[in-house]
């Protein structure tokens, strides 16, 4: 009798635990529907109180010096602090004027920018002038800065400022895409000499720009606080303060939003959390097709060097179905290295719809009727994702044994950059199609020098790339881009797998979260109702 009782306690406790978790599971979306979203933070809505927006930040801040900024979440903060000569329209991704009111070029060689007058620097650093532009861009080029983006200005022959409100660039070769180089992104962002000199090696923690928000506090281990730049040239933003709280764990972030502890989740990238939040009535701000993930094949690998093998791979895996099954919101199958909203995007290429028979046949033709075993690199941080597991199964069905070699992220990057892999992956967020194609396909960029990890070198294609870049006639240029895509999709040194979407779920009362194609949000347009 006594013994049975003992057992009962065990069972009981286990049951209570189960119940607990079961409760939280079943009741949440229902109750959450009515309570969570409306349970807004009082500090953000009470009239008279300053409007404060609380945003979940998902990784450690890594500094905000445009010369060496990296990773999207950091770039998004910089995007709101700094300005470039040009900027991107949030909704369309089009290039729009920013610090330059207007620009002109006749030959894509000489670019003249007319600067906006009366623009004030944050924190009382005075008025913005052409000297600031020259200082900023020369700083990028200065080897002492060791900016990884210095190469972006390689094509610049000279920069001049004939007057405080004019800047003239002379390029070495014509470049129709030059505006991207001076837009509000990376090297294009303009800094203030006095501020840079004042902060010395702590510049990355003391950014001073001309954008709508200024950095008030950056605590790399817990939060970043931005305050409204009241002298912003477009007028003060509706929101007075943005607090970015670092919450790395996705589940915690989801609960924090449900609890009203934060207003917006910057990038929620777990399908199941999006599920919960959508059901609970949160606003699902998102942008589609912001970037395409590629499978990078090492063309020097004896098996992968065979084009038929690569094509077989493409036929063997149903990326659409995987995306639909695993994360229908966050991604779908990709059809090109470019994205459908980009200039020059084309589907008039070889398309690989799921066809295992064809894959097998191609493998047989390539001399691998029984398949082969190959390694794909991955990071231990993300592990073997569900989607990777499914790909593995698809490949197995045609005889390809895919093994994963998981290493920590830095090693992964290092191997990828040096080209030391069989199969790896790449995702390049960019708005400039030329940049995408050049980075991946041009022999100048062959790893370890650049992003051409496949070590793809096709003189025919290289020639087309170069002439497209110089081409002034946009129709002809688009045609060239299409031809490039046709070659790539036939040869598949890179296999487009998924086109990703970005979600920033928010409380329903947060308006104006428009995510641009670089997955960034301009908080100037955001308001709390």
């Amino acid at each position: 009798m006594r013994r049975r009782w003992k057992l009962n306690i065990g069972v009981l406790t286990a049951a209570v635990i189960l119940l607990l978790s079961a409760c939280s599971n079943t009741s949440d979306p229902a109750t959450g529907n009515t309570t969570s979203p409306s349970a807004t933070d009082s500090s953000t809505v009470a009239s008279g109180e300053p409007k404060v927006l609380k945003v979940r930040f998902y990784d450690d801040p890594a500094g905000y010096d445009p010369a060496n900024i990296f990773r999207i979440e950091n770039e998004n903060i910089a995007f709101n602090i700094f300005s470039g000569l040009a900027s991107y329209a949030s909704d369309t991704g089009e290039i729009i004027p920013d610090l330059a009111e207007s620009w002109e070029t006749d030959d894509n060689m000489t670019w003249t920018f007319k600067l906006r007058q009366g623009v004030q620097w944050q924190k009382g650093y005075g008025e913005f002038t052409s000297a600031d532009v020259l200082y900023s861009y020369n700083r990028i080029l200065d080897p002492a800065t060791a900016s990884p983006y210095a190469a972006e200005f390689n094509n610049v022959e000279s920069m001049e400022a004939p007057d405080p409100y004019t800047v003239v660039f002379k390029l070495k070769t014509p470049d129709g895409n030059f505006l991207h180089q001076v837009a509000n992104y990376h090297q294009g962002q303009i800094v203030k000499k006095e501020a840079i000199e004042e902060f010395g090696d702590q510049v990355k923690w003391n950014p001073v720009g001309t954008g709508p928000f200024a950095a008030e506090k950056i605590d790399p281990s817990s939060e970043i606080i931005l305050v409204r730049h009241d002298d912003y040239y477009q007028g003060p933003a509706p929101i007075e303060k943005i607090i970015f709280s670092i919450i790395k764990d996705e589940s915690t972030a989801t609960i924090a939003l449900q609890n009203g502890e934060i207003d917006v989740i910057m990038r929620s990238n777990r399908e199941e959390n999006l599920d919960i939040l959508e059901k609970a009535g949160f606003k699902m701000n998102h942008v589609e097709n912001y970037a395409a993930s590629l499978k990078v094949f090492n063309l020097e690998h004896p098996i992968l060097a065979n084009r038929k093998v690569r094509q077989a791979w493409a036929y063997a895996v149903d990326f659409d179905a995987i995306a639909e099954g695993v994360s229908p919101r966050l991604q779908k199958g990709a059809k090109s290295l470019l994205l459908d909203w980009m200039e020059g995007y084309s589907e008039n290429t070889t398309q690989y719809s799921y066809d295992p028979e064809k894959a097998k046949q191609l493998l047989a033709e390539a001399g691998y009727p029984d398949g082969f075993t190959i390694k794909q690199d991955g990071t231990s941080a993300s592990g073997v994702t569900e989607q990777m597991q499914l790909e593995q199964e698809y490949l197995k069905a045609v005889g390809i044994e895919l093994e994963f070699d998981l290493v920590d992220t830095p090693t992964y990057n290092e191997k990828r950059n040096s080209g030391d892999f069989d199969v790896s992956g790449r995702l390049l967020p960019a708005v400039n199609p030329d940049m995408v194609l050049f980075s991946y396909l041009h022999p100048d960029n062959i790893a370890p020098k650049g992003l051409n990890g496949a070590r793809y070198n096709n003189p025919v294609l290289t020639e087309k790339l170069e002439s497209a870049r110089a081409e002034k006639d946009s129709a002809k240029r688009l045609k060239l881009y299409e031809e490039v895509q046709q070659i790539v999709m036939e040869e598949v040194p890179y296999l487009p797998t998924y086109a990703g979407n970005v979600y920033w779920p928010s409380k329903p009362n947060i308006e104006g979260i428009v995510i641009n194609k670089l997955a960034q949000v301009n908080f100037y347009g955001v308001d709390i109702k």
């Binding site: 978790s21 939280s24 199941e272 959390n273 179905a321 695993v326 597991q389």
Partner: protein, 297 residues
Amino acid sequence: MKQEAVARAVGQPAVASRPRIQLPYLSFLYVNKNAKWAMVILLPILLITFLAPFLPLQAPLESNIRASLNAPSLEHPFGTDKLGRDVFSRTLSGIKVSLFVGMTVALISLAFGIALGTASGFFGKTVDRVIMGVVDIFLAFPSLLLAIGLVAILGAGTVPVICAISLADVPRFIRLQRSLVLSLKSRPFIDAARTVQAPRLWLMTKHIVPNTIAPLLVAASITAANAILIEASLSFLGLGILPPEPSLGNIIKDGQVYLQQAWWISTLPGAVILLIAISLHFLSDGIREALDPRARK
């Protein structure tokens, strides 16, 4: 269990004076109550686990996206996960991996613990100082940190995980074995053997090590339980055993994010881990009791 208390109260020697049938080493498994409990839990789990290939179950890696996140049913006793894989069959194959990790870690810890701990305790002096110096260095790290560090060096996967967890446990075993040896060293039966000039090797192999086995087994079964739990923690940090190979740790980790929609993915394997860990604790209690009638649960 209460014998010693009674013996003390009554003033009778705790050991029965009438001859009993001497049972072999593992006899406590069916004599001792705790050990019996451990077996009652462990045996069925082991049985099902190793019968898994013969059961009409979906293969652990077989996915079926149409049957994603199904609640537990007759067909899927533990439900299905996001990819429509059968959580039950994954759990069973995870048990194998987890038990393998647990057992291997316990064995490695035992082997090194016995070898180095005996040397340290028995020889003393320089040998002792060197071994204990190194042990102290390793013990200066919280165990998980040590494991994280090692996995960072070796990379994730089953072997590194086993190494990493063992690295944290071996020093503890050396310490334990050393203290056991030290206390045994002064026991009269060692003196008895020394009076006939028994060589050191004889003392160590015949007298010391056999008498440390039982307490070491107590520690080893707890270590096995802890190793299974640490593997789960490492998996949570992405440093454990890598999917798709299921370990209880990575199943729980994967299921954890679905806790709000599909509680079963994480909870049921979690319960299994608990059961295994509890039964291993029972086992250790059982060994302890079999060893020392005074010890209470």
